[in-house]
């Protein structure tokens, strides 16, 4: 009888711990992204126009106690971009396998969506425009702390400038699961092959 009781208690404890492990976690949030790759006058890849929609929960966190007028939101955008600058804008771009340096963001817009999510648009220029003909370039958006889950909801969220669209295949999107400390998130890789 005692053995059965011990076995039951052991199973109950391990079950509880498994549930605890599965449900444990800190703050996590999602960003729904879309990107437009733009070129300079010579048709070289010059940067990306990003549009990120934060989920309403994290938007409420960020906006808690902040002024939500147009001027207040502009200050919020500046704060977000200042922090993102230190984190390389969660963006890793590589052309033919070589990482590409990014410049600081100077143009941005911000608004609240109908679902009270923050929608941040910003132009992320490359440090130097790059010719992409005959090359394949890859873009990965990921948070090194695995707090933000940044995802494209489909390839239609990726647009190429006209000159790029003429010489490059349509973007493809591949997701892979990454086990973070407390949860699992999907990191997507955008691949664009150009002739």
């Amino acid at each position: 009888m005692m053995k059965i009781y011990r076995l039951f208690c052991g199973l109950a404890l391990s079950g509880l711990l498994c549930i605890g492990t599965a449900s444990a976690g800190g703050v996590h949030y999602t960003i729904s992204a879309s990107t437009h790759f733009y070129t300079d006058q010579a048709g070289q890849l010059a940067g990306m126009h990003m549009n990120w929609v934060y989920d309403p929960e994290v938007s409420a966190f960020i906006l808690d106690g902040r002024d939500t007028s147009a001027a207040g939101l502009a200050q919020v955008a500046e704060d977000i971009l200042a922090d993102l600058d230190e984190l390389n804008y969660f963006t890793a771009l590589s052309i033919a396998g070589a990482p590409v340096s990014l410049s600081q963001v100077s143009e941005y817009s911000i608004k609240l969506t109908d679902q009270q999510g923050l929608q941040l648009g910003f132009q992320l220029p490359l440090a130097q425009a790059v010719a992409v003909d005959g090359k394949t370039f890859e873009l990965v958006l990921s948070d090194p702390d695995a707090t933000a889950d940044i995802n494209y909801n489909g390839v239609e969220r990726l647009r190429l400038a006209e000159s790029l669209a003429e010489q490059c295949a349509a973007p493809t999107l591949q997701g892979r699961s990454v086990a973070a400390a407390e949860h699992e998130l999907t990191v997507q890789t955008v691949t664009i092959a150009c002739e």
């Binding site: 404890l13 996590h28 902040r66 977000i80 922090d83 702390d145 707090t147 400390a181």
Partner: protein, 177 residues
Amino acid sequence: MMEFFIQGVLHPLLMPAHLLLLLALGLLVGQQGVGALKPLCAVLLLSVLLACVSTLHWRLRLDLEVALLVCAMVTGVLAVLRLELPRWPLILLGILAGVLVGLDSAAPRIPGLRGHKIHMLLAGTVLSSTLIMLICALLALMLRHLLEGIVIRVLGAWIAAGAILVLALYLLRDRLA
């Protein structure tokens, strides 16, 4: 702002490795008697606080889960053995536990988050970690002579076994998936 504080308070309760370690430490401290309670509480409070504050400035990209579970297991085994420990190993254990819990409770880095929200979150974690240990130590203090201390030893064994189980599941998670 209060949401952040509550989230911080709940953090050690939702993390099995943190909870096991704090409960084990509480049992061990309570078992040692009232003299160990005050310094250990102060040491734990300070070490969790300092470790939490350090995560605001730099962060370790280390998985501390294994270290937390091993520490919980060792502390649970010490409670089972019911040794009369000198003060310094207890204090070292308190510092180690506090640092591990604090470092593993790093505040989320959300670009654009301003104000004292993150501080409130960390304050909640520091307070709740210390209170969990203190409450457990006070209960252990009351129970330490019950059935010649067998209750505390059984609880210590459960915690050590729980830590080993979680550790085994954690280390085998890739094979089990």
